[in-house]
């Protein structure tokens, strides 16, 4: 408080000294007031995988590479990198100017220690699954890191572009302070955090990525998104992250507010469980795919805020949807397929959805329920609290599920957990065939971009045709802000890293 008083006194003093007219024209650096509805669940970048934690931690911690607004890989702590011809060895050069928040330089030893921590099973990092290909890490000098991989692995580079692969201080690992103290190298420094309430970050004046135009971030957790909208309207908040499309679409209607939105990689999907009853029949799954009017679900449940999509949501690999199996609703075909499979009279099943996750889950389940009733499939909707949903999902204890799954810029990193024979979540996906497994293996090894694209397009077409799941569409990430907040670029991952480029022009 005393700090607040002295700060406001200084401001008043300044205003008096300079005269208010002198101040009104200039862009004053100050803290950006940010609001979001879901808070981070912890401070350990290697362990926290929830999106709400990632977007908070990536303001402070940095990985070796990151994704730009077009989902292209750009430098973060590494200024350059190179694969050998076989894609088995990745050599990276660290940015000479990269420093941790305590002033010490980021070295190859820190990188090595960080990845050894991720790979250490005692730590319990879920991101470990993406890095098990590492056989050893060499550090020929302070600024060079060499990853030796167990085979050709092109998607490895994309997997590095995540704060779950952040470089932390080797000394902090030894001291056991990761998760309790935050010493990163990113654009903002940690000042305070009260879970589910608020956080304060200050701009890192020494950031190797450039100058941060604001003084820092005052982050508030406002659990109700309509309250966030109200806070924006009354200028309590400069910038806010919105999940609910219903709230987001109201923002541009309020004067003085603007909305930044970008298509995201995460996808809405109707997951079928091919180990359950009639769903073991490929024809039944295909009938469901043909019976669903994807655009109608999108228009009804998401106010049309998104685009119908196949399994691959990244622009660089996506197949046009009209080339995918039954992407135009065809009820006659659906009924014929049901009859061929011996289910002309339909059947009863349940569909589970998580309460509020995403906010549109219940409406999506309802629209799907009504569409599938056209071919005699009677769905009972089961709404579950998120943790209960996750528990059922991990045990593959469901008939059908409405899900919003995270996407990755590389098809292999995105789907190897489900559609390879030894994928960690193959027991949930419950469907695999040789084609999917072989195409994934080829995509992992192929270094020629054009050939990779061909491989993954075959993969996508085949996946849509065998229909273990019915892919629906992708939505947007939304950020609402005051008109005077300039420079924020939304990204396909919904990252808030763009706050490093924001300035206030009041």
């Amino acid at each position: 408080m005393s700090k607040m008083i002295s700060k406001s006194l200084t401001t008043i003093g300044l205003a008096v000294a300079l005269g208010t007219t002198a101040l009104s024209g200039a862009a004053m650096a100050e803290n950006l007031k940010v609001a979001w509805s879901q808070d981070a669940t912890g401070l350990d970048p290697h362990k926290q995988t929830a999106f709400s934690s990632i977007r908070f931690l990536e303001l402070m911690y940095e990985p070796l590479v990151r994704l730009d607004k077009d989902a292209k890989i750009v430098p973060a702590l590494a200024s350059s990198w190179e694969f050998n011809d076989e894609a088995t060895v990745l050599t990276m050069k660290l940015d000479d100017g990269a420093k941790f928040h305590d002033g010490s330089a980021v070295t190859s030893a820190d990188v090595k220690a960080s990845f050894e921590r991720i790979l250490d099973e005692e730590v319990g990092s879920a991101a470990r699954a993406n890095f098990t290909a590492i056989t050893s890490i060499d550090t020929p000098d302070e600024k060079t890191v060499v990853f030796n991989l167990d085979g050709p692995n092109v998607p490895f580079l994309t997997a590095l572009a995540s704060v779950n692969a952040a470089v932390v201080q080797a000394s902090a690992i030894d001291a056991g302070t990761i998760g309790t103290e935050v010493v990163g190298s990113g654009p903002f420094k940690y000042e305070s955090w009260t879970p589910n309430s608020n956080a304060t970050l200050v701009a890192n004046g020494d950031w190797h990525g450039g100058e941060v135009a604001i003084d820092g971030l005052d982050i508030s957790v406002l659990p109700d998104e309509t309250a966030i909208l109200a806070a924006l309207r009354s200028k309590q908040v400069d910038f806010a992250l919105i999940n609910d499309p219903f709230v987001a679409t109201l923002i541009p209607q309020a004067s003085g507010l603007k909305l930044a939105k970008a298509p995201v990689l995460s996808y809405h999907v109707l997951q079928l469980n091919p180990s359950r009853g009639p769903l073991t029949e490929q024809k039944v799954r295909q009938a469901i795919s043909c019976a669903v009017d994807r655009q109608d679900v999108l228009d009804t449940a998401l106010l049309g805020e998104g685009a119908v999509s196949g399994p691959l949501t990244m622009a660089a690999y996506a197949t046009p949807v009209d080339e995918l199996f039954c992407y135009t609703q065809d009820l006659d075909k659906a009924k014929a397929l049901m009859a061929e499979a011996g289910y002309a009279d339909g059947f009863d099943m349940s569909i589970m959805a998580a309460t509020g996750e995403p906010p549109t889950a219940a409406s999506e389940a309802q629209v799907l329920q009504s569409q599938l009733s056209e071919i005699g499939i009677n769905l009972t909707i089961e709404m579950k609290e998120l943790n209960v949903y996750v528990d059922h999902w991990l045990k593959a204890n469901f008939d059908m599920a409405v899900a919003l799954n995270g996407g990755k810029p590389d098809p292999y990193t995105m789907y190897n957990r489900y559609w390879t024979k030894d994928g960690n979540l193959q027991h949930v996906a419950n469907y695999i065939d040789d084609d999917l497994d072989n195409l994934m293996a080829q995509g992992r090894e192929e270094t020629d971009p054009a050939k990779r694209k061909e491989i993954f397009q075959s993969f996508e077409k085949h996946l849509a045709e065998v229909s273990p799941w019915v892919w629906l569409y992708t939505g947007y990430s939304y950020a609402g802000s005051q008109d005077y907040v300039d420079g924020f670029e939304p990204t396909p991952t919904g990252s808030l890293f763009g706050l490093a480029d924001v300035s206030l022009n009041k």
């Binding site: 995988t49 319990g124 879970p195 589910n196 659990p223 109200a230 943790n387 996750v390 960690n424």
Partner: protein, 319 residues
């Protein structure tokens, strides 16, 4: 043995019952701290990683050992460590409780300040248009959920006037009473008006009953002015059911008002427990529920004692 002492002796039994119930209930719900932290990504963990995290969250022992460890701590005043806050549970509770207490007191004051005078007014103007208006307002007030009132207030103020109290960063009353009151007044009105409606209805009907009593008629026939009969003779007795009602409501409010805390982003006890449940922070759920149950019992005891003070005919003697 006097009544309050007997009531106090029941405390430990109720607390033990609550402890066991909450301990078991939160564990019966599917999902644990690991799925809460990692979501579906927890499916990527190797068995060894899962083991390490299970041990980290203290879930590696069987329920009986877990309960005994926790309960032994409780007996020594140690409620355990919250995994989300990384602090002792007692510290977390005590950080959030003052806000909840303040909100409960403020909304109770608002409810009583509106409710009792309005109820008496309606009772003394029975079946006149003004009585009807008060009764309709009370009915509407009582049947409108508090979150609707809260959202309407937020909407009207932000859209109509472009003002809203500072949300997100809560200012304790000890730091800046004015800023604190600015933050608390809307939630207090939201909760207070809903409860005021109940107080109006209760005090009106209690007052009507009392006004029929012989002693009131006697007092009037002795020539005591109507005003004095109402305020001095009838009101104290009419307040007894209002005290019960308020006591129970106050007890509930001390457990936090989840919806109102969500809308106004207040870090009260209600939201703390909700978040703890969603994040499967077992120690915090158990500790906070125990704390709430304790407060509830204390408030109820105080209400019973207040009866005796208000109505000398009521005595808690053992036969």
């Amino acid at each position: 043995m006097s009544y309050p002492i007997k009531r106090l002796l029941v405390f430990p039994l109720v607390m033990l019952g609550v402890s066991i119930f909450v301990f078991v209930a939160i564990r019966l719900v599917p999902g644990d701290a690991i799925t809460a932290m990692l979501g579906t990504e927890s499916g990527l963990l190797t068995p060894k990683q899962r083991e390490a995290l299970t041990a980290y969250f203290g879930l590696d022992q069987n329920w009986f050992v877990q309960f005994w460890r926790w309960f032994a701590g409780v007996l020594q005043g140690d409620l355990g460590i919250s995994t989300t806050y990384g602090k002792p549970v007692m510290t977390v509770i005590l950080e959030h409780f003052p806000l909840t207490l303040e909100l409960a007191v403020l909304s109770m004051l608002i409810a009583l300040a509106i409710g009792i005078p309005a109820g008496i007014y309606a009772a003394t103007h029975k079946d006149r248009p003004s009585d009807l208006i008060v009764r309709v307002v009370a009915m509407v007030g009582q049947s409108t959920p508090s979150f609707v009132v809260g959202l309407l207030l937020v909407y009207l103020l932000s859209v109509g006037f472009g003002v809203l109290p500072e949300m997100g960063t809560f200012v304790p009353i000890t730091e800046d009473p004015i800023a604190n009151l600015a933050q608390m007044i809307l939630p207090a009105i939201t909760l207070g008006t809903a409860f005021a409606a109940a107080v109006i209805r209760m005090s009106r009907s209690a007052m009507l009953d009392i006004l029929q009593e012989d002693y009131v008629r006697t007092a009037r026939s002795k020539g005591i002015p109507r005003r004095r009969v109402i305020w001095r003779h009838a009101l104290p007795n009419a307040l007894i059911p209002v005290v019960t009602l308020s006591g129970v409501e106050f007890g509930y409010l001390l457990g936090g008002a989840v919806l109102v805390e969500q809308i106004f982003a207040l870090p009260g006890l209600g939201r703390t427990v909700l978040d703890a449940i969603l994040q499967r922070d077992y120690a915090l759920v158990q500790g906070a529920v125990l704390f709430i149950a304790f407060n509830f019992m204390v408030v109820n005891l105080l209400v019973d004692l207040a009866y005796a003070a208000l109505d000398p005919r009521i005595r808690f003697e053992t036969k």
